[in-house]
Symmetry: C2
Subunit: 346 residues, 2 copies
């Protein structure tokens, strides 16, 4: 068995290199440069294309001491949208699937829901009536299913639901529908001294119970939408935090840079999103001084996942796509850039 010199000493951002150079040059490289994983070994579920080369090249330059683009580890902040960027979001945001299942579970205690919208629509599977209830209707459903309980009680509901619920198309737990290439990207960034954050329009309390196990992202590195929470003395004067039916913060669109500033207090040097709701987060990241990486997951694969962008009701990618093209951000074409989509395909 021959050990490839390339795999021992080639630096990630030399990925495009193809012709075998003379041995003495390789030797000089090995002496001059620290050993790094070869390009073929990092991000194995990414095809060797412009997207992979862009991200590997970026990580190489910001982590190389002495490089003009070097960024000290504490400032290596990477932020990721969740729905449509780290896991799927079709046919509906998975958090809404949770809310609908909660409506069904709670319905026996709320006979009035049988004849009241938007509950009736959920109970009868009437998607037209549900769509007609609009954002206001969805918010009401979220409030009715996510609040008036303690934070611990809510976390348990989420954990129990994820253990039993199955996605309608793939017949698998929702947490199986995470993107294998993005799991590898998160791990690759952390191995290079980055701190990885989720910055999602989804509910912060909905994500925290499972993201550490699934993404390796601890609860304290999750930024999301939230309701008002209240401290009170519960039974036996044990202090509890109660989730009130009132919106506190919507971490979407222009709210994302606000959330990043509030929770992290540093500007990211890398950001990944997939929809117009991520546009301001991407702009905020791009506008920082020094090297920046801005990426968009473009859903182009109807066979393995879904194909949608400008016309989609969920995860619409229109203005942000125009900006990405105009500013040469990295647009990941799911169909051509990803060798596999989900972990279970491997």
């Amino acid at each position: 068995m021959e050990v490839s010199t390339e795999s021992v000493c080639e630096r990630p951002h030399a990925a495009g290199y193809r012709l075998p150079p003379p041995r003495w040059i390789l030797l000089a490289w090995c002496v001059a440069l620290p050993a790094r994983p070869a390009s073929a070994q990092v991000l194995p579920s990414w095809n060797d294309g412009p997207a992979k080369r862009a991200v590997v090249g970026f990580v190489g330059k910001v982590t190389t001491a002495g490089s003009p683009d070097f960024v000290p580890p504490p400032e290596r902040i990477a932020v990721f949208d969740n729905d449509g960027t780290l896991w799927s979001e079709q046919p509906i945001y998975f958090q809404l699937a949770f809310a609908f299942d909660r409506v069904k579970a709670l319905a026996p205690h709320h006979p009035e829901w049988r004849t009241t919208q938007p509950y009736e629509a959920v109970l009868e599977g009437d998607t037209v009536a549900l769509a007609g209830s609009g954002e206001k209707g969805l918010l009401e459903l979220v409030m009715a299913t996510h609040t008036s309980m303690t934070t611990d009680e809510f976390a348990k509901l989420v954990t129990d639901w994820l253990a039993t619920a199955r996605h309608p198309r793939f017949k698998r737990p929702y947490t199986n529908l995470v993107y294998q290439p993005m799991l590898e990207l998160l791990a690759y960034l952390r191995a290079n001294g980055f701190k990885t954050y989720i910055v999602s329009g989804g509910g912060i309390e909905f994500m925290r119970p499972w993201v550490e196990k699934v993404y390796g992202i601890p609860p304290e590195q999750v930024v999301g939408s939230s309701g008002v929470t209240r401290f009170e003395q519960g039974a036996d004067s044990t202090p509890v935090l109660v989730k009130d039916p009132k919106v506190d913060f919507i971490d979407d669109g222009p709210g994302k840079p606000v959330g990043i500033n509030r929770f992290i207090g540093r500007r990211p040097i890398l950001a990944f999103g997939n929809s117009d709701g991520d546009q301001q987060m991407l702009e905020w990241t791009a506008a920082g001084k020094g090297a920046r990486f801005v990426g968009i997951v473009h859903h182009t694969d109807a066979a393995r996942e879904w194909a949608y962008d400008r016309q989609s009701h969920i995860g619409r990618l229109d203005k942000a796509l125009d900006e990405a093209i105009g500013k040469h951000w990295t647009v990941v074409d799911m169909k051509t850039d990803w060798r596999v989509v989900y972990p279970f395909e491997r």
Copy 2:
């Protein structure tokens, strides 16, 4: 020169041990136990008393694998109040000193302030009139000096102020008035796998520019009070975050557990405060399952710092002191437990 066996192999929670045991016992200890810094070496600015023994004992048991009290590193969350717990807060909260200095700096652009309270009181040093303006007056001063600018502009004002302002009693930069024993405690906890957080009633944007350098706590591990921040396109369509004159969140009293839950999403296993404003944070920490450490800095040293508790307008410690005594929390007596108070005394 003799190397002390104790310093090589004694565990921190064996701190009370005094009589020299036979050599073979020491040897067996060295083989059986991982090397740890000796008690005499950890927390050198703490006198060897009940407070130091309590904290060292706690850290020993939660970090010893196989101990019934063992806590995995990701769950080792430690939270600290700032004003009066990590640095001094007399004769006024240092952030208010900043606000007053800003009023003086801005006064030439606001001739009306010469005859308008609470500005007039600040400009004339009229503490009675200032006290008369109450919390409402102080909030107005904070709004007038902390908002209607970008987050970057505000951070620069704070940094510039700390570089030049001097504390009226000690004639030193405010950041010199941090507690040496608490700096050592923060470092000791981090060396034992803890993640250290500030949870302060003070402004989050006021603390973030300097806490990393002074405490070793990065900006993303600061929880504090905040105003509403707004994303907008500034000059040259560069995106900026603008601080609006509107309170968003008060991280004090019952707000502290809410802030901890929002920003960290895990319950701390160690909490330190110094006033009634920390009481709910301490209760929330104490009420978790498993080993917990709850500490209070009691200001008892008028000579080296200040002595105040139940009657103080700033940093009042009354109900929380009663609860600490009743529940056997660790009350640090600044006068007897701390060998030095400030770093410059060493």
